[in-house]
């Protein structure tokens, strides 16, 4: 017995040594490749944005004066350091336009998130209570619109909402209204657009938390005399809270910086920060100011993004 073990041991040792080396190398590559990619294409760009937000606008290509250039060595670097300025940020605080755009974006995103929750909750609930055989089909039907182009879905609403559009035609024909409603190019159109576009993001996390729920709890509450609405607010809603939080974050965070929806449905009057950044960049060609707008937008979103990451980490933990 011991003989066999003694002779077997060295042979496996030699077999695994190169394998182990290969494994160690592969292991490291698996981490290093995506890590470096994200560092270079995700993190470094943010540092550049921050750097350029501190530089001055210039009429050239690229339209900014370089700051913190290492070409002239350390002395040049230090000289550049003195040239750093927060002019773009003071500019943002002086012009009420930017402040209003930030606040309006946050308010619009918050209202749309609540509306999406109100629209999405009954759908998710209905799906979770559906017979188990048709649930996969319902789930597929919720995900399917997500695969069709975002731009197209927003575009489809223009034809519906405009003054001579389909909604007004229907309402006028049925005699519900006598004058066409003006919806396109108002905040109402933006709300409709955001609720419509982000509905799957709300329904999916809600559904997954409602589906896991034990419905005998509600039956027990009703047997004990609790009315259905009371049972909902005391049992169903609190138990679905993780889904509510995840869904709201998934809608709120991208909605704040949304560009396509306010631009196509909200018209030129509406003020949202994503649109402001776009105009600052493409129309005014002011790269430093648009960088400063981006930096502040990112700071505004840091707290909700951190919440999102925490929710992700928690979901990951549960998945294990």
């Amino acid at each position: 017995m011991t003989d066999i073990a003694a002779t077997a041991a060295p042979s496996t040792e030699t077999a695994t040594l190169p394998a182990r080396l290969v494994k160690g190398f592969v292991n490291r590559l698996v981490i290093i490749i995506p890590y470096l990619w994200l560092l270079f294409f995700f993190l470094i760009p943010f540092i550049i944005v921050f750097k350029i937000s501190l530089s001055q606008t210039a009429i050239s290509m690229p339209p900014y004066t370089p700051v913190l250039d290492f070409k002239d060595g350390v002395a040049g670097f230090l000289a550049g350091f003195r040239e750093l300025n927060f002019d773009n940020y003071t500019w943002l605080t002086q012009d009420a336009l930017y402040f209003n755009a930030y606040v309006t974006s946050l308010i619009i995103a918050a209202i749309s998130t609540i509306l999406t929750l109100i629209v999405g909750y009954p759908i998710a609930y209905g799906m979770a209570r559906a017979p188990a055989t048709i649930r996969p089909t319902l789930l597929m039907l919720v995900i399917l619109p997500f695969w069709t182009s975002f731009l197209i879905r927003v575009y489809a609403w223009i034809g519906i909402l405009k003054p001579e559009g389909l909604l007004n035609q229907v309402l006028l024909a049925t005699g519900l209204i006598s004058q066409p409603l003006v919806i396109l190019n108002t905040y109402t159109a933006i709300f409709i657009g955001i609720v419509y576009s982000y509905l799957p993001f709300m329904v999916l996390p809600l559904y997954s938390s409602l589906e896991k729920m034990d419905y005998s709890l509600i039956e027990a509450a009703q047997d004990l005399g609790c009315p259905p609405t009371g049972a909902f607010w005391k049992i169903t809603f609190p138990l679905s809270l993780p889904g509510v939080v995840a869904g709201c974050l998934l809608v709120f965070i991208p909605a704040v910086g949304e560009f396509v929806i306010p631009d196509l449905l909200g018209g030129s009057q509406t003020l949202m920060i994503g649109k402001t950044l776009w105009n600052e960049f493409f129309s005014n060609r002011d790269w430093p100011v648009s960088s400063a707008v981006a930096v502040i937008l990112l700071l505004v979103l840091t707290i909700p993004i951190m919440f999102f990451q925490q929710a992700q980490a928690k979901a990951q933990e549960q998945g294990r």
Binding site: A15, V22, K23, V26, V30, I31, I33, P34, W37, L38, L39, F41, F42, P45, I48, V49, I52, V119, G120, P122, I123, Y125, G126, M127, R129, A130, P131, A132, L141, V142, T148, S149, F150, L151, I152, R153, Y155, A156, G159, I160, K162, L166, Y196, L199, V203, V256, G257, F259, V260, G274, L277, W278, S290, A294, L297, L298, L301, I305, Q309, G319
Partner: protein
């Protein structure tokens, strides 16, 4: 179960799906409209599809978009799968918090910020903007979606299969390609499709990172939409929807087949 699926539940589902699908259905219907007015029905016609195929600018844009989509989705799938493996398998290494932050943050990052920051990077390193830069940008933001999709599959993966293969003497690389990869393949395929549609769909990031000669289809549609709604755009959108829908349906049928096959195999294994 039927008693709990009340009339209220059915109504909310029907209304919800009507809300989700009606705009798309109307868009498709009006692409077959004879009249130039998008909202007035003037009889059935396919003339907008014909004029679409004679619109050289639109066809060029479609070609650019398709190439960017295939290239970026393929690279993003490789990188995203590696990232997913890193996230699930290597729980302790230096900078793991930063890494998971960089994987999850792009999912919710406003597109204007991603687009602007990538553009400034390309300018800083002196890369000419065009086809290549759009592809790089799309790889970067879609790989994170792939990572999340593949990761959710890896979490439920039974690692004892891998251990068994390695105990039987299979080297790690071989184990990965013969055991792990086939099991997570459905997730990788849906990750690729997600990356492809996200790339096909993207307007904002492409607008920032693109240059002359590399106009993508969403950029083209966007510039035409700003001039007004025309049936020709409806026709272009309908074709895009059809392509994606066919792809999704084929993928789901293939997935279901594989699932059934797997169940049959398992039953056979239990009997045998």
């Amino acid at each position: 179960m039927n008693s709990t699926w009340s009339r209220f539940n059915i109504t909310s589902i029907v209304l919800g799906f009507a809300f989700l699908y009606l705009p798309i259905v109307l868009l498709i219907v009006f692409s077959f409209n004879e009249s130039k007015l998008v909202t007035v029905w003037g009889g059935f016609s396919t003339k907008w599809y014909v004029s679409l195929f004679h619109n050289q600018g639109l066809m060029d844009a479609t070609w650019v978009t398709a190439r960017v989509g295939v290239i970026s989705a393929t690279v993003a799938t490789v990188l995203g799968t590696l990232a997913a493996i890193t996230l699930t398998r290597y729980t302790r290494f230096r900078g793991r918090v930063l890494f998971s932050g960089m994987v999850f943050a792009p999912l919710v990052m406003p597109e204007v910020i991603t687009g602007l920051s990538l553009l400034l990077l390309f300018v800083a390193v002196g890369l000419d903007r065009g086809f290549f830069t759009v592809a790089l940008a799309h790889i970067t933001f879609t790989m994170c979606f792939v990572a999340v999709v593949v990761q959710s599959r890896l979490v439920s993966f039974d690692r004892s299969l891998e251990e068994a293969a390695m105990d039987l003497g299979a080297p790690p690389v071989k184990t990965f390609f013969q055991i792990t990869l086939p099991v997570i393949l459905p997730a990788i395929i849906s990750g690729w499709m997600l990356a492809f549609t996200l790339s096909l769909d993207d307007l904002v990031i492409a607008s920032f990172t693109s240059g002359p000669g590399a106009t993508t289809l969403p950029m083209k549609i966007y510039s035409q939409v700003r001039l007004g709604v025309t049936p020709e755009i409806n026709a272009a959108c309908t074709i895009l929807i059809a392509v994606v829908a066919i792809g999704v349906i084929i993928a789901s049928i293939a997935n279901k087949r594989r699932e059934i096959q797997r169940q049959l195999d398992e039953q056979a294994a239990q009997r045998g």
